[in-house]
Structures are given as structure tokens and as C-alpha cells.
Assembly symmetry: D2
Homo-oligomer: 392 residues x 4
């Protein structure tokens, strides 16, 4: 057993942290970081800075100019990037693009790679992942999928409504989950690729949400008889759920990595404040009521870090790590939310203002206990495995 991070990864993570701290953090007060996330203009500016600093998209395969980081490598680098919520935007390792790249890398045909993955990987354009639907459609339970795909000659006709589609506004293309109607695959979920420029795709509105760190925000998207050619299927027909799983386990973990970076930042801000601000005759940090919160933050950061590393190691070994990535999602999302909460509390009145990044982090990270499976769905899955005696 060995917890050493390879020198090469450490060096890259260290450069990323420096880049984020010196170059990205000052952008946190940029007006282009709106309540619907950073604008594409800001995103591109940050991407250019990352390219210049040699830290752009290091997770991408070397084929597309990246460094093909392992999951453990990502653990180090994405956490460094997450030090600012704009860091993953700058490095182009934010959701949903990062997860989409992974999915396409595993599943896409060569021509799809060329057309969709290549421009995505190089940052030429963005993408979105259209799975979630409003009630009574597919939310926590993907089997409630209502969006349909019907074969009309050589063309698939897709109809339905999606929502909470992150980054839809401004995306070049979409991966759409739909239920096949008719034919041999009748009733089975399937993934399709489509250009967002298609007139049959309508962004009905951008939702006002508690979080604001994803480029393009979260949109309601409608498909009105969207027609795509028969080869627009990603992978095999009827394998949508399988691919969603392929995407999800690592996607969950990269969320953990990025948010861990923000937790470390919040803890730094709270600690620095606790060293300086006085009350009742001494600095806050000399009050146990405050220092115990800092200690609890440190422990939550510690266990989150270890959990991420362990699951990343399993993924690097080629395991599915379903149970472990579920546990990592719950452990990290809840631990990091506590760090955000305590950090805000330590800052007191200042914590309630946008004068530090902690307020925004607190709001953003609230959604993390919900997306990619709410804690309840993961607890249910973890518990069911135990009760039914599955090893994994």
C-alpha cells in the first residue's frame, strides 16, 4: 500500500494550483460570471489562459493534445483546479463536458469521435447531456423516461422535454437519452447525438438555480420532432442505461474531486479569518467553538480525499467500482457541504455576503447532494447491495 502521488502528477497539480490561484481567482469578480454561470465569452478567455499556461484539458487523451491522465492523476489535478469554481471551466474539465468526453471516448464510432469528440476535447465547442426530465419523467429513476425516438424510414424522430440540462445554452451538440418506440428495441433507452443548432431543439428557458458555476446554466430543452439520421445513435441501440452507468461512475468522482478543491479553498479562507478577526478578547480561532469547526473541516476534507483516491485507484484498475463510487458520492457531497456550511458560519456576517467566494460555494455545493443521484438513491443502492448480498 502506498499513498504517494507520482512526482509528475504532483508537479502538474502544483502548476494547476498556481495557475488557478494567480490567474483564475481574479476572474471571480468578473461580471461575466453570471447567476447562470460563466458566459461562453469568459469561458473562452479562461481556456486561452489555460492553454498559454500549459494546463488546458490535461485529462484528454494525447491524441487530442491532452496528457491522458489516469483517474488518480485526475484526482490530483481536478482538485487543484477546483480551488476556484472557475478553475474547471478554465481547464475544460467541468461537467458535463468532461463526462461527455469520457463517454464518447469509450463508446463513439470513429466518425463520431472526429465529428463530436475532437472539437469537444480541444475546446472548440461545448456539449450537453440530455437525460433528466421534469415530473413525471426520468429524474432519480431513469426508467421513467418519457422522451421518445421513433424510426421513420432512415430517420429517428425524437420528441420530449428535458430539464436541468446543464450547459445547453451555447452547446454545439447534445447527447440525448430517449426511449425507442416500435421495432425490436421497443421501450429501451438509447443515446443519440444531435447538433444543438437544429431548429427542432428549443431552449425554452434557462432555469434560475441555487448554483451558478456551470457555463450556460441549466436549461429546459424541448425536442419537437427532432429528426436525426439512423447513424446518430451513440453506441448500440437499447444500451442507453448501460452507457449512462459508464458515464456516471467516473463523472460522480470528478465532481467530488473538483468540489474538494473548493472545500480546501473555503477552509483556507475560514482559517485565515479565524486567525485575524477578534471577538471577546481573542482571535476567533482561539475560541474552541470556532477551532472545533476548523478541525471538523480538516477531517471532512481528509476523508473525502482518501475516498476519492481509493475509488480512482479502483477505476484505474479497470473495476466498475459501482459501490465505491456511490459511497464516494455520498461521503464527499455531504462532507464537503458541511465544510461549506462551517466555513460560512465561521465567517459570520461576512460569510453571508459575496465578499468571499464561500457564499457562492455554499450555494453551488448544495446541488451536489442532488445531481448524479441524490444521497437517498445512493443510500438505497448501497443498502440494497448489502441486504441482497451482492459483493459489488
Amino acid at each position: 500500500m502506498n499513498f504517494s502521488v507520482p512526482a509528475q502528477v504532483l508537479e502538474l497539480a502544483s502548476r494547476v494550483k498556481e495557475f488557478v490561484r494567480d490567474i483564475v481567482v481574479p476572474y471571480e469578480t468578473d461580471e461575466r460570471w453570471t447567476s447562470h454561470g460563466p458566459t461562453d465569452d469568459l469561458r473562452r478567455e479562461l481556456n486561452d489562459l489555460a492553454r498559454k499556461a500549459g494546463v488546458f484539458a490535461p485529462h484528454v487523451s494525447k491524441e487530442y493534445g491532452g496528457q491522458g491522465l489516469s483517474h488518480l492523476g485526475q484526482a490530483a489535478v481536478f482538485t487543484a483546479a477546483g480551488y476556484s469554481m472557475l478553475g474547471p471551466v478554465a481547464l475544460h474539465c467541468a461537467a458535463p463536458d468532461e463526462g461527455n468526453m469520457h463517454l464518447l471516448d469509450v463508446v463513439a464510432r470513429p466518425d463520431q469521435r472526429e465529428r463530436y469528440l475532437k472539437p469537444l476535447a480541444t475546446g472548440a465547442g461545448r456539449s450537453c447531456f440530455c437525460m433528466t426530465e421534469p415530473s413525471p419523467g426520468a429524474g432519480s429513476d431513469p426508467s421513467q423516461l418519457l422522451t421518445t425516438a421513433r424510426l421513420d424510414g432512415n430517420t429517428w424522430v425524437i420528441d420530449g422535454e428535458k430539464w436541468l440540462i446543464t450547459g445547453a445554452e451555447g452547446a454545439a451538440f447534445a447527447i440525448i437519452m430517449a426511449k425507442v418506440v416500435g421495432g425490436e428495441a421497443d421501450g429501451r433507452a438509447t443515446m443519440f447525438l444531435a447538433d444543438m443548432s437544429d431548429d427542432a431543439i428549443k431552449i425554452e428557458r434557462t432555469l434560475d438555480t441555487i448554483d451558478s458555476s456551470f457555463t450556460g446554466g441549466h436549461a429546459v430543452v424541448r425536442f419537437d420532432q427532432l429528426r436525426v439520421p439512423s447513424d446518430a445513435i451513440l453506441g448500440e441501440i437499447g444500451e442507453g442505461y448501460k452507457y449512462a452507468q459508464i458515464r456516471l461512475a467516473p463523472a460522480r468522482l470528478t465532481h467530488c474531486m473538483r468540489w474538494l478543491g473548493s472545500a480546501i479553498r473555503a477552509q483556507e479562507i475560514a482559517t485565515e479569518f479565524a486567525r485575524r478577526r477578534t471577538a471577546f478578547g481573542k482571535v476567533l480561532g482561539e475560541h474552541e467553538g470556532v477551532s472545533f469547526m476548523l478541525a471538523d473541516n480538516a477531517m471532512d476534507i481528509h476523508t473525502s480525499q482518501l475516498t476519492i483516491w481509493h475509488t480512482a485507484w479502483l477505476l484505474d484498475k479497470g473495476e466498475k467500482a459501482s459501490a465505491e463510487s456511490s459511497m464516494a458520492k455520498v461521503i464527499c457531497s455531504e462532507a464537503i457541504a458541511r465544510v461549506a456550511d462551517r466555513s460560512l458560519q465561521i465567517l459570520g456576517g461576512l460569510g453571508t455576503t459575496r465578499d468571499t467566494i464561500v457564499e457562492r460555494f455554499y450555494r453551488d455545493v448544495r446541488a451536489f447532494r442532488i445531481y448524479d443521484g441524490p444521497s437517498e438513491v445512493h443510500r438505497w443502492a448501497i443498502g440494497r447491495r448489502l441486504v441482497r448480498g451482492h459483493t459489488k
Copy 2:
């Protein structure tokens, strides 16, 4: 012992709830409810509607057109008002005006009542309470007060910076806490009344904050050689801390009342959703993972309600109830925050959006664990009383 609410109070509370539900709630999507709180224009419109419905400012003494509600009466009515975060704005029982009215009612001279309390009580204008200062000034520890008042002939000259001053933007007058410099009261905190129209009072900026339900938002206010006459002192010179305590105990409790109303609303929204939204073969509410959260909400609402009633009863008996109002503040602010958190979690993706009021409630109520004394300061005070053997 008797937990019955008098019929007259029940009737008023019932009318208030109806008014809020039917008239106020639709305003929750009004664009004049900004991220810095409702505009004064919206506030006045809501005040007029409340007057028309006969529910305006029922806590105000009959002298000024109110009903002189007892603390227990307020418990019922303010909770009904809090069903919408705009309800207390409409009824003119929101912070800081409601607390300022109480303070002026107890402390102000007849001429000050006429000049300040009367227009405030009737809703002609708003007020602000200038106590909190940025680090290293008076925050949780009021003894760190840095704003000074120096007597220059017959005029007090006030200098200093305040922040997180709720409702300063648009307020007619301010109650200012400053430390006397020189003279017999040297070093002692004193309250002053001043018109906000004075050029020496500068609103430097309105803070971007996590909450957004207070009219005028929270501002940074600077006094640059603000000159007020010698009779601008509220009450006695040097008694600032004592008056702050007079204001605080009931002010804390009315916060609890109003937020309890919002918690009841969130629970209703979450329950309704849990009855309708399906996942994994049944409605959410039939999953114990969800129904246990609803049960915990019910219990947190129950204990909050009982705690408020008990402290209100003590205040009505004329007790200071310092220990009990501290406990009520901690118990309610934490219980209600948990209700907000669970309700949002039950709503899942919907909960992260502004499509229900729960998202805004979740954010707003976060600040409640900080203002009027963060939980840590109250725990410290409660614990100290126990250790040092004070009965109260």
C-alpha cells in the same frame, strides 16, 4: 397549563394566513423582488393591500392604529405572515422595523415617538439599525465598537463605518450605536437617532448576500462627521448595550416566528411533491427515505413552535427571558434550517431551482444562524450561565 390560542388571535392569524396565501404569494414572482430584497415600491404596494385586508401592522399599539398584540399574539400572527417571505414585508412586521418600533416604544421620548416612531409604525417610512461593523469593529462582540460620537458644543459628531445594515437603502432614519469619546460617558456605547437624508451619511454599497427578503437589502454605511443635536440621543447616554438587549430578546423571537411560517410552507410544498412525484414504482412519500425526512420536518416544526410559545409567554409576563430567548434562537434557527434543507432535498432537481420558493427560503434562512447572534455566541452564553451558576 394550557396551550390554547385565544379565539381572537386565532381568527386574526387565520385571516393573515388567508391574505398571505391568496394575495401575497402571487407576488413572489414579481420582478420587484430583487436579489437585494423587495423594492420600496413593491413594499408599499403590499402594505396597501394589507391595509385593505385589515391585517396591516397588528403588533403596533392601538395609538398608532395597530392591535397591540402580545408576544403570544405575535407568535400566531407573525408565523402566519411568514408563510410567504413577503408576508412580513406586507404586514410591516419585518426586521429591522419591527424591532426598532419595539425599541422606540420602550425607550423614546415623547417628541422622538412623534417624529420617529409614529411614521414608522404607520408605514409612512422605514428605518435601519446601525450597530454591526466590519472587522475589526463590532460584530458578534459588541464591545469592539469603533464608531465614535464626540460632543462638539451642542452637537454630537459621529464617525465610523457600519455594514450589513439591513434596509439602510431607502430608510427614513437610523438608530446608530456609537461609542462616546470624552466627557463623563467616555467609552460607553450610546444610541443616536439620525435622518438618513443627511449628507454625512453615505451608503457606500449594497452588499450581495445569500439572502434577499429584507426590503433595501444590506448596506455598507459610512458616517463622515455626521452632526446631530444633543437631544438626538435615544434614551440615556451610555446605555447603548442595555437598549440593544431590550431590542434583541424579542427581535430574535419574532425572527423565529416569521421563519417558522416559511418552514411550514416548505413542508407543505415538499409534502405535496412527495405525494405526486413517482420514483422506483411508487410516489416519493411512500419511500421511507423521503417520509422520514417529512417526519423530521414535522418534529422540528413542532419543537420550534413550542419553544416560541414558551418564550413569548415569559416575555408577556414581563420577564427578560434572556436564557430562553437565546435557546429559542438556536433551537429555531437550526431546526428551521434543517427543514429548509430537507424540503429542498425532497424536491430533488426541482428544489435546486427557483420554480418553488424553497430555494430562496433555503438561502435566506442560512443567514438566520448568524444574525442576532450566531449559534456559537448563544451556546457560549447559555453554557456560561450554567457553569457560573446564574439562574437566568
Copy 3:
């Protein structure tokens, strides 16, 4: 609304507290307080002392020499008695006798009152309540009842095994829950009265349990063709579940009352220790890490007290208060367990020893989250009411 406790009740509670503190507490080191509870010998000695002090069985109706305390009266007096875990034993208001008296008082025929209630109420003998069965029988789910009652001529023949039967060892009689087999009431739960001296009732063993405050401990009891006359039915045939509910709601609440008394005691012991024991340059109580725990204890005691009062008031009004007594059970059992845990933690090494009563209280109160419905069953019931829209 009014939280005053009537002077007469206050006076009695005060006498009870004094009796418990001065007379009962010294018995806490008596060797007759075994790991299976106080012996009957000790119980009788304590009963005599209580009689002498004029505080014996004040909840019992005047007919049997008691004072016919209301539920609110019990709230004050049982909490005072609970100051020592031997207090309720001394006053003869401990489980299961106290609940059995209530049940018999509501349901028993005159001849049953004379034969069973009278000697029970006057402390001549004890009783037990035989409902719980080992897996796969009736535990949390009473509908899994396996013990049967079969009519053979004029005689009921009862067969089955019960366990966790509190006080069975030494009891004069039992109330037995059994499922009728055959006849019109086939399959319906029914309560029977039987003398424990019957040879067909075998106490197989007394269980070693985490708690030790109930006289007689908890036993495994077997009925081997126990024959009782047809008039041994308590109340009506087939109404067993209804009577169980009649017994349960108040029985749960009296548990809350008694344990609250122990929580107050633990808090006193912890506070006194925190005032005296030093570490790192000051007394423990001046460390926020300790004083915050005392403050949390105070708040948990406060909400438990209020919850008990409220439910008692409802019961006194004649309401069933099913929802409220469920909430009170969960709120109090969990809050009081936290008080026990924090008090033990404050005492440190001393807390792990039997040199204070806190260690025993900590263990005993652990079972309170399980008996009379585990927290999970109550949360399930509370949540179901909310989801299904029942008001009560």
C-alpha cells in the same frame, strides 16, 4: 396560553424531588440494585419509604389511595421521580405497572379491577405485559403475533413464547396478548389476564440486557397450554390492538417524563464536574468544547419538557394524540440519549465508570429508543400520516 404549573402540583413535585434526592439516591449503591434491576425486596423497601413520605403512587385514583394526577400532573411528578432511576420504582410509577394500571383502569370489569387493579395500584404486587415475541413473532409489527388462544369448552388455552417481558420475574399477574384461533374472532388479537403462579407459565430465563432499572428485569416467558377461564379476557374479544393503543400513548409519554428526570440529573452531575475539574489551565466548563455540550443539553432538556407538557395537555383534553405522542417519543428518546451521551463525555474517564449514575443512565436510556416503538416505526407512522393527508 399558559405554561404555569398549578401550585399544588408544584408542591407535590417538589416533595417528590426532595424525597428522591435525600432518601432514594443513597440506595443507588445498594447491592440489591442488580444488573437485572432492583430486587423485589429493595422495591418493597423503597415503596414503604415513599408511603412514609406521603409520595407513594400519586397517579393512582383516589379510590385506591392515590391522588388521581392528570397527565400534566404526572409530567411534573414523574419527572421529579426520575431524578433517580430508582425513584419511579419507589413511587410505584415505573413501567410496566404504571401503564398496566392505566389500561386496567380504562378497560377492566369491576371484578377484574378488584382482583387485579386494586392490589397492583396499592403496591401489594406487580404485573407484567406480555406482548413482544421473538422473531418471527410480534416485535415492532404487532400483526405478526404468534401466540394463540384457542377456546376449549369454557376455557381458553394459550400457547406461545414472549420475550423482553419486563418485570415478569416476581409479577403477580400478566396481561397476555394472543391471537384467537377459531370462532368468530378467529385471527384477532385479544388480551387475557392470568396469574403468574400458574404452572403453565414458565420463565425460561431472565435476559442480560443493556438496561437495569426495571424491577425483575426482562424475561423470556413461555405459555404451555395455559388454561384460563372464559372471563379472563380483558375487555372485549378481538380488541387487543385497540387496547394496546390505549395503553401505549400515555405509557410512551410517562417514559419520556421519567427519563427527563434522569437527564436533568445527568446534566447536574456534568455541570458540577465542569465547574470543578481543571484541564489546560482552567475548569472544564470554561472550555467552549465543554460548555457548548452543556448548552446543548439544556436545549434538549428544554424541548423535551415542552413536548411532554404539550402532549400531556392534549391527553388531559381527552384527545388520542397519536401523532403528538409519537413525536414526543422520538423527540424525547433521542434528545435524552444525547444528554446522556454528552454528560458521560464531559465526565471523561469518570463517565465510563459506575462512580456516577451517568454510566447506568447512558446504558438504560439506550433501550428507550427501541421499546414502545423504535424511532424508525414512529418516523414511518408520522411520515405516513403526512403523506396520506391524515390530520391526526
Copy 4:
């Protein structure tokens, strides 16, 4: 980074688990496992069985017949041993002997090794560690040491009272922490070695405690003019605190390892029960209220495991790991206590009885949040490091 456990360690851990499950577990109902811990007779019988199985004392250096396990090796093996609370007793890797062996191994002179370490390492006799004193002596704050050592010619005269001295009853020798009075080292803590057979050492009583898994229980020990030769000092004069630290960091971690084994056992018992016991129409484990508890157990076990491994790795690298071992102590002791609590709750009525080992585990592990530094002392230390900016 690599989380693989070496095959050799895995193999040993697997043999230990098998030994504990098949040979040791049946002893859990042996009457020689008293409320003051296993008797020495039982301990020796178990030791012999472990020797026979080839798993005795694998942590001991090869010089004394052990396998000189690294900290990571211990993590695997001690956790396997902890599957039964008697496992560490059988393998002779329980506290305080295991920690004393480590201390002696690092600090003792060759003649002291021969006289004290050798018989201890081979299981010929046991030892105790006399540091803790009753109030107002050394508890959480070792600097309050009251036991004195005064040089009288060539002899040290030791006076004082210790308590909570684990294993004193039946121990062959003691390591005594005392404060030197007079001379150059005046006032400095120093460790002494003494035979427990000395008449000047009196075991005043064995404490009744909440836990019961340590051989010999916990005693009050008095030194009345205990005279030991000048070479009875362990290591250097005045270095007592330093040695206590050398002992503590690994000793804390081995506690975590052993208790983790018991947590795994409790989770197995609860899971098995949840698969079998029915309520309300299905097995408990199909109720989310239960399966979520199993899931939380799994996550607490997971983070405990990872935290132990990480700190063990640091210790193996030769680092002091003070911060990490403090964090591991708090994280594991609190997580494992939650596992015990949930497991007991899942078992319901059964959980409150000694019919499963969970009841005993629940009680024993309560003390773990107190010994080797209560959570509060560790949080204080962790927080202080952060506030004062120490890296370690």
C-alpha cells in the same frame, strides 16, 4: 498510489479472521469473560490457542518470536483480530500490552528489554501503564500530574494515586509516570518501571466500568512510598511526556484497527438480521429506514478503514503523524460508535440483550471516544495546529 495489501499480510489476516471466527467467538459466552474483562485464566487459554494456530503476537519483533509486522501489516491483522473483542486478547495485541511493548521496544535499555519486554512479548506476563490520575490530577491534561518521584540516595520513592489503570490486576509490572521532585529534573515527568508484586503498590479497587473487554479491568492503584532503584527509569529522566507521545500515536491507531474489526462484525450481525427478520410485510432490510442505516454503516467502515491505512502508511515511513493520528482517532472512534449504535438499533429488542455481541460492543466502544484523548482534546489540538499555522 496503491491500495493493495501485500499477499503475505492478506494471508495472515485471513488466517487470523478464521481463527477468531472459529475458535475465539465461541468463547464469547464463557463465564470467565466477566464485567471486569476476561480473567487471566481465560486469557492464557486463548493465548495458547493462538500459539497453536500460529497467530500469536504477530506484531512482536522476530527476536521474540513474532513477525515484526509493519503498521500497515498491523492494520490488516489487528482488524481481523478485532472481529471478536476477545480476539486481541487471544493474539496478545490488546491494550495496554501492545502499546507498552512498542514503547519498551523503542526506549528500554538492553537489561530492561530482557527483564520486562521479553516476558511481555512472549505472553509470559502482562503489564500496565500508570499515567491517568483522578481529579485534580493528570487526566486529559497530562501536565496536571500529581504523582511524585523523589530521589532518596540511590532509590526513587514514588507516591501517588492512579486510576483507570487498565490491566493492573494481574499485571507483572507497571510503567509509572511520575513527576520528579528535587534535583535537576525537578518538576519533569519521568517514567519508571516497577514490579506489581511490590507491597507498596496497592490495588485499591477494580472500577465498575461501561466496558469489559480488557483483561484485568481498570483499577485504582496507589503507590505508598514505592521504592525503586535509580536504574528503574525508563529512558531518560524528565522525558516522560516525549515517551508518552511515542507510545500514543501508534497506540491510538491500533485501537482504531481493533475496533474496526468489531464494527465489521456488528454490521454483519445487523445485516444478517435485516435479511431475516420481517416487519410490516417484508424483511427489515427492504425498509429504507433500515437499509439506509446499513449503508451509513458501510460508509463509516469505509472511511475508518481508509483513515487507518493512511496513518499507518505515514508511521511506516517514519513520520510522527501527530495530526493524522489525532484525526484518525476522532474519525474512527466516532464512526465506529455510530456503527455500534445503528447496528443495535437495527436489531431492536434483540439489540438491547446480550444475545448478540452488539450490546457489549456498543458499551465498550463508548469508552473509546474518551481514552487516549477524548474527541474534544483532539479537536482542540487539530484546530490549534490549523489556527497557529503548524503544518503538522
